[in-house]
């Protein structure tokens, strides 16, 4: 795979390299994301493989699929998708993330199209994808329904959207805000506003209103004994994920 040309100002590269190293440091500031990532990837890869009849044991199983990663950050999901053979567009509204993601992809020898843009802008430009990854974004947007509608427009008919977020109940308040932000300081204070959290049923409703067909939902559960995350069929009480398809 040919690494893309970096378009970053050379004087900024050192700074972005340091930021990239920080994004990708498993013990660094994004530790909670790194801990959750294998679980998210297990879910995402299994759903894509199922929907598009791909074998994850073969090489380049996602060859020919065009995947959009919304809120790509440092590229924690974009890079694995590219490594599995997909053509990947990583979009982030935070401009400073993009050179970080580009530098890391270049270091990793991966070709990923990182753009400073939003789902709405991409939809307006008529971009089309087989898969939209919409992970831990919906709880941060002002108008979830119009945002989800844009993500539906980005999908080809028969396409797949994976959407994850945080449930709204006393436990999620305790775990995601008190636990993650205040006690463990995994996330900066104010990362999440509890009132913007969405219950699984509300999300199903929103996805349907946006014109998508929800087909699956699972919980991501943190086990404080093994200090690791796992996928749960039943426990959607804090972090959870959904899969939806766009009707043909």
């Amino acid at each position: 795979m040919q690494a893309p040309q970096s378009t970053v100002d050379p004087s900024e590269i050192a700074k972005f390299e340091a930021m990239a190293a920080e994004w990708w440091d498993p013990e660094g500031k994004f530790k909670p994301l790194h801990m959750l990532n294998p679980c998210r990837l297990d879910y995402i890869t299994a759903q894509i493989a199922g929907e598009f009849d791909r074998n994850l044991k073969s090489s380049d199983p996602f060859a020919g699929l065009r995947i959009l990663d919304i809120g790509c950050g440092g590229g924690l999901l974009s890079e694995p998708m590219a490594r599995l053979g997909a053509t990947v567009v990583g979009a982030d509204a935070a401009e400073r993330n993009l050179p970080v993601a580009r530098i890391h992809a270049e270091q990793s020898g991966l070709n990923i199209d990182y753009r400073h843009t939003t789902a709405e802008a991409l939809a307006a430009a008529g971009e089309q994808f087989d898969v939209v990854l919409n992970m831990e974004v919906v709880e941060h947007v002002a108008d979830p329904l119009s945002y989800l509608t844009a993500t539906r427009q980005l999908l080809k008919p028969g396409g797949l959207e994976i959407c994850s977020t945080i449930n709204r109940n006393p436990k999620s308040f305790a775990v995601a805000i008190i636990g993650a932000e205040v006690v463990m300081r995994w996330l900066p204070r104010g990362t999440h506003e509890w009132s913007k959290f969405i219950t699984p049923d509300e999300l199903y409703d929103l996805l349907q209103q946006a014109g998508l067909t929800p087909v699956d939902r699972k919980g991501f559960v943190f086990n404080p004994i093994s200090w690791s995350w796992s996928i749960s069929d039943r426990d959607l009480s804090v972090n959870y994920v959904t899969a939806s398809t766009k009707p043909l």
Partner: protein
């Protein structure tokens, strides 16, 4: 090609594989086969010349493969070539013997019939294992084996590791694996330090031909100088592992064969009839050395390179194969998720999985040895009573049998007899 940069890149491509393994013993080839099976390319760098480790005749070395290890060998396709030469271990008898005085009335008896999985393990001669590994690697298009190749330098960067061989050739991999024994050069070059203990004891290892049938029973005698194990090999032959204080062991090792046997005979009595030596005799100083980290930048350590263990319960190779199974599962899982399998993120999972198991095994082996190598009458009474209790409680006994078969703990898939 007149562009030197281009030539260099092509050369690099020629010598590039997913994984570079330093060490062509048993764990390295096992990992190579496991990773090739899940679609990865592997280069094994072995310092020994071709065939050096494959003795034609029995050389006296054998392994007590736990059931879990046998399953792994089966999954990676080498068991069929070994099974005809393997002796199932059906029972283990543990006796608190005392040289010259005969065993104490308390002993423990573990029978594979107490678990449903089958024999607790198999005894296999070293030569058959090596032959099977080498044949399987040769047949595998994803595996390249370099013999008589010595690594002189290694370097890690953002995407992989580069090693330089003695002849100046360089090899590239996304991950470097050190399977080069307890004095691992791979670990040393990466600056990984080791913690070690010396027991002041030396193991004497030999194989014997004996008159009577062993019936697939393994014996472990605990005697004040150190333990003695009799492990059944195919036919009327057994492997003996016996430890003594180093000065005594060296004196015994220096004896001629007949005198050596005269020392050995009274230590386990005459239940196997007359005995004679089969193959060579070996000595191994008993020390314990554990790498302070099992991983580094683009680097993982397996087997003795990670943890050189006291071979008291034949757990050295079994623990190494458990590293192999765990590492292969972690790396393959990462590949299938699209993760960079040589990243510290992924290697951390292997470290987390194996460090804990190893610490527990090292501690248990150590305590076991100290407890049983002691002639203090109070300790002796204590362990006799303890053995009596374990021996009389079926649940506890079953636990020991499962432990001996390697079926406890967080068992990797290959050791459950499943593909990754």
């Amino acid at each position: 090609m007149d562009n030197p940069e281009h030539t260099r890149i092509l050369q690099g491509m020629k010598n590039a594989s997913d994984i570079l393994i330093v060490g062509g013993g048993l764990n390295g080839p096992a990992l190579a086969l496991a990773m090739a099976q899940t679609g990865h390319t592997v280069t094994v760098i072995d310092a020994l010349p071709p065939g050096a480790a494959e003795a034609e005749d029995f050389d006296g070395r054998g392994y007590a493969l736990a059931l879990a290890s046998q399953r792994l060998l089966n999954q990676i396709g080498v068991w069929d070539a070994v099974s005809d030469h393997a002796q199932p271990m059906l029972e283990i008898k543990v006796t608190d013997g005392h040289a010259g005085r005969g065993p104490s009335p308390f002993f423990m008896h573990f029978d594979h019939a107490e678990i449903e999985e089958g024999p607790m393990g198999y005894m296999v001669e070293d030569r058959f294992l090596r032959r099977a590994f080498n044949a399987a690697m040769q047949d595998n298009p994803r595996i390249t084996v370099l013999r008589e190749a010595r690594v002189v330098a290694q370097e890690a960067d953002a995407t992989g590791a580069t090693v330089t061989l003695e002849d100046g050739e360089t090899l590239r991999g996304r991950l470097l694996v050190g399977s080069d024994g307890r004095q691992s050069g791979t670990a040393q070059r990466a600056g990984i330090k080791r913690t070690g203990w010396d027991y002041g004891q030396t193991a004497l290892v030999c194989a014997i031909d004996h008159e009577k049938l062993h019936g697939g029973v393994a014996h472990q005698f605990f005697m004040p100088p150190g333990p003695l194990a009799i492990l059944p090999l195919p036919g009327n032959r057994s492997s003996i592992v016996w430890s003594e204080r180093t000065d005594t062991a060296e004196a015994i090792h220096a004896l001629d064969d007949e005198k050596y046997l005269q020392v050995l005979r009274p230590r386990f009595g005459d239940f196997l009839g007359d005995i004679s030596l089969a193959g060579k005799r070996f000595t191994y100083p008993l020390n314990l050395t554990v790498a302070n980290s099992f991983v580094g930048d683009r680097l993982a350590l397996i087997g003795d390179a990670a943890h050189g263990m006291h071979p008291i319960a034949g757990q050295g190779l079994n623990a190494g194969l458990r590293d192999v199974a765990a590492l292969a599962e972690v790396l393959t899982g990462a590949t299938r998720r699209g993760e960079d399998f040589g990243s510290s993120l992924v290697l951390g999972r292997y470290q987390q999985w194996r460090r804990f198991d190893t610490a527990a095994l090292v501690a248990a082996t150590d305590v076991f040895n100290r407890l049983f190598s002691n002639d203090n009458p109070i300790l002796r009474l204590g362990r006799d009573v303890g053995m009596g209790i374990v021996g009389s409680l079926p649940g506890l006994r079953r636990g020991f049998v499962r432990e001996a078969a390697g079926l406890t703990g967080d068992l990797p898939r290959l050791m459950q007899g499943k593909q990754i």
